[in-house]
Amino acid sequence: MRELSLNILDIAQNSVKAGAQHIDITLMETDELFTFAVKDDGCGMSEELLARVKDPFTTTRTTRKVGLGIPFLTLAARQTGGDVTIESSVSPNTHGTLLEASFYKKHIDFTPLGDIISTVVTLIQGNPDRDITFTHDMCGTVIRLSTAEMREMLGSVPLSEPDVLVWIREYLTEQYGQIK
């Protein structure tokens, strides 16, 4: 993947596929480190599946036997000196998955974050009924978006409505613009 924001979209799509109602995407940056976490309340993975999830010959897709999402991400993290950790539970009360990926930003092989705004817009467009929170903490300056809060304002108007998607894009663009 050319941008980490594409990896984030890919990982979040796994949460969607796991039937999650809540998906929290958290990006944390310091001068040295970039980490992101995707936490969901989806069906979770069994210990057996969790043990082999970084293996490219593990996939949930039915169309072929190779799954490269997590191997790609793990490669992107490790080539900077970082890593990916995944915790998951299938128990009835606490089911869900937490994936954390860390990167050393100053390493020459650090993949740039890229267009994270498009990732957020794409995720909401495809999944207007889920509760998605997006948080990006840049050395203490925080950008935040919550679809549950948006839904309170919008009532029955779906979040996938083009006018709403335009608003999300403009809102996040403005927030990022103020930092730079």
Partner: protein, 123 residues
């Protein structure tokens, strides 16, 4: 400064329209958004379709949705167009520019852009 309060204005403006629209989607544009699609560039393709459909005021009859792996990963980004009463059209190796042309010529104009379809594309 943009704020959440602006969403209330969108709600006012949209509420009547959205109710009318439900169930009237005659045309469905489906973009493959699994790992293979995302890595090949499906994100800008999807967003271009969403923007162009809104810009051309086609939201009343056209919906844009996402799907998982369709199984022809070497042809990604793959876009399928379903129109009621017509055969499915599969566009392959899509880009944002190609998406604009598909909206203008196929979705709006009714003429399939055959050079982008799977039957006319070599790997």
């Amino acid at each position: 400064m943009k704020s959440l309060a602006e969403l209330a204005a969108i709600k006012e403006r949209m509420q009547g329209k959205v109710a009318l629209r439900e169930g009237s989607g005659e045309t469905r544009i489906v973009v493959g958004m699994a790992t293979c699609g995302i890595a090949a560039g499906a994100r800008p393709v999807l967003n271009t379709f969403v923007e162009e459909i809104a810009k051309e005021n086609l939201t009343d009859r056209v919906t844009v949705t996402q799907t998982g792996c369709i199984g022809i990963c070497q042809f990604e980004p793959v876009v399928e167009v379903y129109e009621s009463g017509k055969e499915k059209v599969t566009y392959v190796k899509m880009t944002a520019d190609k998406a604009k042309r598909v909206v203008a010529e196929h979705i709006k104009g009714g003429k399939v852009v055959s050079e982008y379809t799977i039957g006319n594309t070599k790997i």
